[in-house]
């Protein structure tokens, strides 16, 4: 019994849509399995309407969610921990070392080569990119991110502006080097703390 609006085709389209995060081959396999189920069930129960068969098959979103969980998308669970049906896909994971290295290493470079404005600009940019990665990362809580940005970016930058713009700081290269080394120690300590407290 074909109607202009084919409920089976609509149903399979809905599954396909809900399972769009699934690799194409797995999605096609799932659709083929469901199509076969519908066909076989209707052959075995000719009196059952398509609506009834589809209703018992279940909500397309639930099936797609199960397929995503089984494919390991949206979960990292082992055999006994597979669940999170319909859990949202996680944000793309940048390795937790990336933001920490971006925040810390450029500053080391700037300390070693102090009088190069172009380099200083690059260092600042890289450190801001690092902070953005830190803030969008899934490995830390909002509180950790705030503390991390305050200690590694806001505090050093504020101190630097005060250092450059006022006369309270002692003149000369040696105090500047000491200040940079203190900052570097702060960055290293904060990065170490973030690294150790990151989520698994």
């Amino acid at each position: 019994m074909k109607t202009p609006a084919d409920p089976v085709r609509d149903y399979l389209s809905a599954v396909e849509r809900e399972a769009s995060a699934l690799p194409a081959d797995r999605r096609q396999e799932l659709l083929a399995d469901l199509a076969e189920h519908i066909e076989v069930t209707r052959a075995e129960h000719p009196d059952a309407g398509p609506g009834e068969v589809l209703a018992r098959l279940g909500d397309p979103r639930t099936i797609a969610g199960t397929a995503l969980a089984e494919a390991g998308i949206g979960t990292g669970g082992a055999a006994w921990g597979r669940d999170h049906v319909g859990a949202p896909a996680p944000r793309a994971k940048v390795h937790p070392s990336v933001p920490l290295l971006l925040i810390t290493l450029p500053f080391l470079l700037a300390t070693v080569v102090p009088d190069a404005p172009a380099l200083q600009l690059c260092v600042g940019t890289l450190r801001i990119i690092g902070a953005v990665f830190l803030c969008t990362s899934v490995f830390w809580t909002p509180v950790q991110k705030t503390v991390g940005v305050l200690l590694t970016l806001v505090l050093p930058t504020t101190a630097n502006i005060i250092w450059e713009a006022t006369t309270i700081a002692p003149a000369g290269d040696e105090p500047a080097l000491v200040a940079n080394l203190v900052t570097l120690a702060l960055l290293a300590a904060t990065s170490t703390w973030l690294w150790r407290s990151r989520r698994a």
Partner: protein, 111 residues
């Protein structure tokens, strides 16, 4: 819910212990046993994973009534996994039972 899903996979393997079965047959057997808490369609992603993990293989077989059916059968690996689960499960079940059962009154204590 997680526990149920974990156990369901072995129920599916157990259904294939003696003979191969096709998808609709597996789905109905699970549904009738009451072990299936979700809709029928969620069995297929599970079957797909069992296939990818080489625990089951599938072969198409013609049917005298209706379309050809994809039959699922245990591989050696699937049989080994099922045997292992069958071996471990009773002790596991008893351990959980021991936790869940309220302590019985000591002997001699009036009921």
């Amino acid at each position: 819910m997680q526990l149920r899903k974990g156990v369901l996979e072995y129920c599916v393997l157990a259904l294939m212990r003696d003979r191969s079965r096709y998808g609709v047959e597996l789905v109905h057997a699970l549904e009738e046993s009451g072990v299936l808490a979700t809709s029928q369609g969620t069995v297929y992603p599970l079957l797909s994973r069992l296939r990818r993990d080489d625990l089951v293989t599938t072969t198409w077989q013609e049917s005298t009534s209706g379309p050809p059916r994809r039959y699922y059968a245990l591989t050696d690996g699937g049989r080994a996994a099922l045997d292992e689960f069958t071996r471990v499960w009773p002790a596991f079940r008893d351990t959980v039972d021991a936790f869940l059962t309220p302590p019985t009154a000591p002997p001699g204590d009036p009921a």
